[in-house]
């Protein structure tokens, strides 16, 4: 387990026996294509749930539509497989009704960035205490392979036979723009990395947004090969650790230096090859740095993985003035009915003012 972050301390767990991934596993047969990246994500999620230690009865998984939206069926918690794109809104209602629940929202790039883009944006800016995880396969899987808002320009698909002319969304940048206070990135097969990111997301109170690059073997195989491949990932990605210099590469011989004047990143040699003081130290509370990190990508720069931004603040339910546990009682109701101007009609039908 690679704990990257000082504030990843385990959250308070419910008293009771140590839970295992099995406690969060349903008897439902998992039905994704063989080799789909979602299997690995599911495995990581189950492990993190067991470690976080919330009772399965207090955990809720909400999803929209898509391959990733099948998550709730495979997790032995409460679950709700809703409608395309609306999961963040449903989850907001769940959280309003019971702020104590550990609520997860799972949606693919179609769910979160396209049909439900509006709901994602508002869940993030309201800072609703949700763990929003987005397996991003940059394609529409369930509907058989059309290009998605995350697909690379030029992608050929049944709905873009000549190649998509649209520019893809940068999900992390979108989340930053929406005001998200926890933004992280990982990939399905990075089992030495993904669980740590998910654990940090679960521990964060407020909206946590995690983009998980996910391979769709059927419709977009290899889209994130450089990130997922054991041989390539070390040189093509940067694993962020709060308070640590941003160093990467198989031989840990490269670093990221930020030019604060221009707001750009560049790769500098480290170790024998160069001076280490050029390398910028990751500060996950720095919004400007997060914005630069979110934009880093091939071919010139490594893709940033891990917690890009983490700046906790009061969450939605904590900010609301209404007392979550309170319910109107009959006495209060009687008062409401009689509020304002009333008059009384006696047996003699004489009006008197009260």
């Amino acid at each position: 387990m690679n704990v990257m972050n000082p504030d990843l301390a385990a959250p308070a767990t419910d008293a009771g026996p140590q839970l295992t991934a099995r406690d969060f596993t349903t008897d439902q047969e998992v039905r994704w294509c063989p080799g789909c990246g979602d299997y690995a994500i599911l495995k990581a999620v189950r492990g993190v749930l067991a470690e976080a230690g919330r009772r399965p009865d207090d955990v809720v998984f909400i999803s929209g539509i898509g391959c990733a939206a099948r998550f709730p069926y495979y997790l032995a918690s409460y679950g709700f497989h809703t409608i395309h794109g609306r999961a963040p809104a449903v989850a907001t209602g769940v959280k309003m009704a019971n702020p104590d629940l550990d609520v997860w929202v799972v949606g693919g790039d179609g769910d979160f960035l396209s049909i439900g883009g509006n709901h994602l944006m508002h869940a993030l800016r309201r800072n609703v205490d949700l763990n929003l995880i987005m397996p991003n396969n940059a394609v529409y899987g369930l509907t058989k392979g059309q290009y998605s808002p995350a697909s690379a320009t030029g992608m050929r698909s049944p709905s873009s036979p000549g190649g998509s002319v649209e520019a893809p969304v940068n999900a992390a940048l979108l989340a930053l723009g929406a005001g998200a206070r926890f933004i992280a990135r990982s990939a399905d097969t990075l089992q030495d990395h993904l669980p740590g990111v998910l654990k940090a997301a679960q521990a964060h109170r407020g909206a946590s947004f995690v983009e998980i690059l996910q391979n769709c073997v059927v419709f977009n195989d290899g889209a994130f090969e450089a990130v997922r491949d054991k041989g390539l990932t070390a040189d093509r990605t940067l694993r962020l650790e709060h308070g640590q210099p941003m160093i990467f590469g198989k031989d840990r011989d490269k670093g990221i230096a930020i030019d604060w004047q221009t707001g750009t990143a560049r790769v500098v040699p480290v170790g024998d090859g160069g001076p280490v003081y050029d390398v910028t130290v990751h500060d996950q509370t720095n919004l400007a740095l997060a914005t630069i990190l979110a934009r880093m990508d091939a071919p010139d720069l490594p893709l940033a993985l891990g917690v890009l931004y983490h700046a906790p603040a009061d969450d939605f339910t904590a900010q609301r003035a209404d007392a979550p546990g309170r319910v109107i009682d009959r006495a209060t109701l009687a008062g409401l009915l009689a509020a304002g101007k009333t008059w009384t009609v006696g047996e003699a039908a004489a009006g008197t003012q009260t």
Partner: protein, 627 residues
């Protein structure tokens, strides 16, 4: 009788006497939106109530937020009918029209009955004001108002004279002229000024000179009536107070009824209310009303859009709250997908549609009952659900409680229809005894042993409402078809047929528990049955009462339950030669009923002008059939 709709002219064009009903009087205040017309209206309403009058009021304000002063589209009006127990509408034609500027006269004169009393502020009919209203000549002087009893009074000057000594500026003095007019109308109906004076004192507690100026204007208007030889129309003096049931009363609008009804549903069920909505006219006022109750235990959520409002309410219900969403026409269209989910997941949900004139933006502040087809049928797949309609402000309170009871008892979404008329109309409302209101039972005593999320109660067919956090009841819900009982995903053909049948059967169970249909007014059998739903109740009831009193064989039946329909309708329809279905659309309920009751002779009485029915319109249409 042919199945022909009876086409009606716009209600505004009628110059006829207000039908056979005598006794009640109709007053209309009109002025610029900056003239405080709605304040006048609510003060006059309060005073009328305290004098023991029955009443129904209706505000008519401009759609533009800040229309230019003096223009016809910036005119704000308020109409009230006062009198005995029989007042059930805000009145067809106006007996007394107060017009504070030329634009107000221009846009409201059509409502004044021939010979009606017109009170105008002569000072406001100067060149500029006349031009803005599009008058070539001064109507107060060119003889065009000869058909009315005109009282052109220098209200602005008289107000200034009364108010200036109170230590206010000239401008502040002039703004008090609405209270001068109110004082005069109080005098005309022998009503007490004291409650308004008290209200002014508290409203302007920080500016006592403003309170004094307005009160002086109020008194001056009243004195003017006393000292001039301006005799009020005799029949207005004869307007008699009603003799309502003993009890404590308040003024209630349809919006108030919804707000308080939802609060009551929460109190009666012990479920925390979650009202999720996106601002839209005229439904927004429900959100505003409930948002004030945050400290009392009501949660409101202004969602990012109509879809999020509906789905957040579904989420709140899934987590054990009372999820409610409210909207108007276009918003209702956006909620259709969510209604499918709530039907499939079998979760309680209340959806309020305050209908307005459509399609699309249409006329957002005007009344129409044209969302009925949408409410009854507007979903993908077969998704039957209960549809109730509120017949007026007080009925909104009862209807929304019944909707909550149905939603929770049967685990189903319920649509409640209101409209722009009911929303804003106000009537006196007798406060119910809260202690005796029946509770709404919520069954959370669910045995984890053998729990299945879709194992039903044999009577109601409701599935158990297990909510997150409850031990041992974790389950997965979803829009994908579920296996009857276990709730697991199922594509089994027979299971889909069974689930489809069960969803429909739920409505049969609801029907069985509803009170049977009943003719509420007029004769139990005969020539014509006037059938209506929603806000047309007042006009229908008044017209049928009058006709029955004349000896005609006519009855009135008003439907709250549009889906499922109550039992006993076929038997009642058989007792009349013809059923006239009156509605503010082109015949949606009539078409629906004709399909269900092919043997019955239905005729449509329809109107789609953005205006409610007048009593005279109903009276004339029914008379045609009765003769």
């Amino acid at each position: 009788m042919l199945d022909q709709p009876i086409a009606l002219e716009s209600s505004d064009s009628g110059h006829s006497e207000s039908g056979p009903s005598q006794g009640p009087a109709v007053v209309r205040f009109a002025g610029d939106s900056g003239d405080g017309i709605q304040t006048l209206g609510s003060e006059f309403t309060k005073s009328s109530a305290l004098s023991g009058h029955g009443f129904m009021t209706f505000p008519d304000f401009p759609a533009e937020i800040r229309a230019p002063a003096g223009t016809t589209f910036g005119v704000s009006a308020f109409q009230i009918q006062i009198g005995g127990d029989r007042v059930k509408t805000h009145g067809d034609t106006v007996d007394v029209l107060v017009a504070l500027n030329p634009a107000a006269l221009k846009t409201n004169l059509a409502a004044l009955r021939p010979g009606g009393l017109l009170i105008a502020d002569r000072d406001a009919f100067a060149k500029r004001g006349l031009e803005k209203a599009g008058y070539a000549a001064n109507p107060l002087e060119d003889g065009s108002l000869d058909g009315y009893r005109l009282e052109a009074i220098e209200i602005s000057r008289l107000t200034r004279e009364a108010a200036l000594p109170q230590g206010v500026t000239k401008k502040e003095a002039e703004t008090a002229r609405n209270f001068w007019a109110l004082g005069l109308v109080y005098w005309m109906f022998s009503q007490d000024r004291a409650p308004t004076a008290a209200w002014l004192t508290s409203k302007f507690a920080k500016r006592p000179e403003i309170a004094a100026a307005n009160t002086a204007a109020l008194d001056a208007g009243h004195t003017y009536g006393d000292v001039t030889d301006m005799a009020p129309p005799p029949r207005l003096r004869a307007v008699t107070p009603s003799s309502p049931r003993p009890g404590t009363y308040r003024t209630l609008t349809g919006i108030d009824g919804m707000v308080l009804g939802l609060a009551a549903a929460s109190a009666l069920s012990g479920l925390r209310l979650h009202y999720c909505s996106y601002p839209i006219t005229p439904a927004s006022a429900i959100l505003h009303g409930l948002a004030k109750l945050g400290g009392e235990g009501v949660a409101t959520f202004q969602a990012e859009d109509e879809i999020a409002a509906a789905t957040a309410a579904i989420g709140a219900s899934f987590a054990g709250g009372l999820g409610v969403t409210g909207t108007s026409g276009p918003g209702m269209a956006l909620k259709a997908e969510a209604l499918g989910l709530a039907t499939a997941a079998e979760l309680p949900l209340i959806v309020i549609d305050v209908q307005r004139a459509g399609p699309s933006t249409g006329m957002p502040t005007k009344v129409e009952q044209a969302d009925l087809n949408l409410a009854l049928h507007g979903r993908h797949g077969e998704a039957p659900l209960p549809v109730f309609a509120a017949a007026g402000p007080g009925d909104s309170f009862d209807t929304v409680i019944e909707a909550a009871r149905t939603a929770v008892t049967y685990m189903t979404p319920v649509i409640v229809l209101s409209d722009a008329y009911t929303a804003n109309a106000a009537e006196p409302w007798r406060l119910p005894d809260v202690a005796t209101l029946a509770g709404i039972a919520v069954d959370r005593d669910i045995d984890a042993d053998g729990f299945h999320p879709f194992r039903r109660d044999p009577e109601s067919l409701a599935r158990p409402w297990a909510v997150p956090g409850m031990t041992g009841l974790a389950h997965r819900l979803g829009g994908i078809e579920r296996s009857s009982g276990s709730g697991h995903i199922s594509y089994d053909p027979d299971n889909h047929q069974e689930m489809t049948d069960l969803r429909a059967a739920k409505l049969d169970r609801i029907r069985a528990a509803l009170p049977p249909a009943k003719v509420s007014t007029g004769t139990d059998a005969g020539r014509v049955l006037a059938l209506g739903w929603g806000s047309t109740q007042g006009a229908l009831k008044t017209a049928v009462e009058d006709l029955a009193a004349e000896g005609h064989a006519v009855g009135h039946l008003h439907l709250r339950h549009l889906s499922p329909l109550p039992r006993g309708l076929a038997e009642i329809f058989a007792l009349y030669d013809e059923v006239v279905v009156a509605e503010l659309n082109s015949g949606q309920l009539r078409t629906h009923l004709q399909g269900l009751f092919p043997q019955v002779s239905f005729r449509g009485l329809t109107k789609v002008t953005g205006q409610p029915f007048t009593v005279a319109e109903i009276d004339a249409a029914l008379r045609e059939d009765l003769s």
